[in-house]
Amino acid sequence: MTATRADAAAIAGAVPDPELRVVTIGELGIVRGAEQAEDGHVVVTITPTYSGCPAMDAIRDDIRSALAAAGYADVEVKTVLSPAWSTDMITESGWAALERTGIAAPGPSGTPTCPRCGHQGRPTPVLQISRYASTPCQSLWSCRSCLEPFNAIKKL
């Protein structure tokens, strides 16, 4: 099989996020691209969601293993900071996958819609319990309509 440059980017992008397993790092906007040199050397460029994101090392390892499994022997993973990652870089399919597991989008006004019952916070509120949750990129909410707690991605 002859692999092309687009393949390398697609393979890297298809790696599941180590913390939010339902989305890929491509859908989260973590993979910026991949370049392959004449000699076969592949450089995958990624960007951290949060600067202290503890998953970055796992992500680098997972990219290397995924590409190795596809026949790319010589892979380098480069981290860039600019332009800084933002929630706008999450793709539509990424948002949909997150929502299916009960993780809400931040919502245009900053108040998320309850992913369990679809309640939008009026007149019964959707309350923020904590602006930090199980990962740095999420906050914790409580829906006062269905009474369930849920996580939402923080706007960044």
């Binding site: 949060y50 600067s51 202290g52 994101c53 600019s82 332009p83 319990i129 904590s130 930090y132």
Partner: protein, 232 residues
């Protein structure tokens, strides 16, 4: 601030973030609620992330974090102070006063970096600015709650503010007016008294630190120094 961020500036900011991360980590498993535990751990993690970017921009991050002695650190004194009235104390009101002061200054410094002409420093600043905004907001929300809470909560947050305020001068050198424009309205809204400007301890940027940094570094560096290059 000058157009081009100097190595000294980046090192100072990196050390502020590194030492602050180590301080904040003391709260892990001890915060008043589980949500707050997670919040403080995440803020510590953000600080560590910013520290790693800043230190890597001026040298080898591990060498800088683990192999320097007290007098080689360039953090401001505020970052190294205990998060309570005395060594080993952990006081939540005190900590929120500390976080308000620190994160307001970091937000301004990172904003300046982001607008500067050094490409790498600008990228770091732009990244860190977003996180600092959250830290500042977190501290602000707590200042309002504690200041407007019980007599006890107000007493303790005010005590922290009074104890830490003098160290704000070194923290805000060159950005004092802009910093006050952020901090003063929070204090006013929280019903807290802005402490008077009296003594102005400093010297951290020149490597003259309090004994608190020695204890902090002993804990932070001991493993790496005993087992250089240790990984797990």
């Amino acid at each position: 601030m000058s157009e081009v961020a100097t190595e000294v500036e980046l090192l100072g900011l990196g050390d502020d973030a590194l030492i602050a991360a180590q301080r904040l980590a003391e709260w892990v498993s001890r915060a008043p609620t589980l949500e707050e535990d997670v919040a403080l751990a995440n803020i510590a993690l953000d600080q560590l992330g910013a520290a790693r970017m800043l230190l890597a921009a001026v040298g080898d991050e591990d060498e800088l974090a683990y192999r320097r002695d007290d007098h080689q650190f360039r953090n401001c004194l505020l970052a190294e102070l205990p998060l309570g009235p005395g060594r080993g104390d952990l006081d939540f009101g005190w900590t929120m006063s500390w976080l308000l002061m620190l994160s307001a200054a970091q937000l301004l410094r990172y904003t300046d970096l982001a607008g500067g002409s050094d490409e790498q420093a600008a990228a770091i600043g732009a990244k860190a600015v977003k996180e600092s905004t959250y830290h500042l907001d977190h501290a602000r929300q707590w200042m309002l709650r504690l200041g407007g809470g019980t007599e006890e909560s107000q007493r303790r947050v005010q005590q922290g503010l009074d104890g830490l305020w003098p160290y704000g001068h070194e923290l805000t050198e060159g950005i004092r007016d802009r910093w006050l424009a952020i901090v003063e309205p929070v204090l006013a809204e929280a019903g807290l008294k802005r402490p008077d400007d009296r003594w102005r301890p400093g010297g951290g940027r020149d490597g003259r630190h309090t004994e608190h940094l020695s204890y902090l570094l002993a804990e932070m560096q001991s493993l790496h120094r005993a087992h250089p290059g240790a990984q797990w």
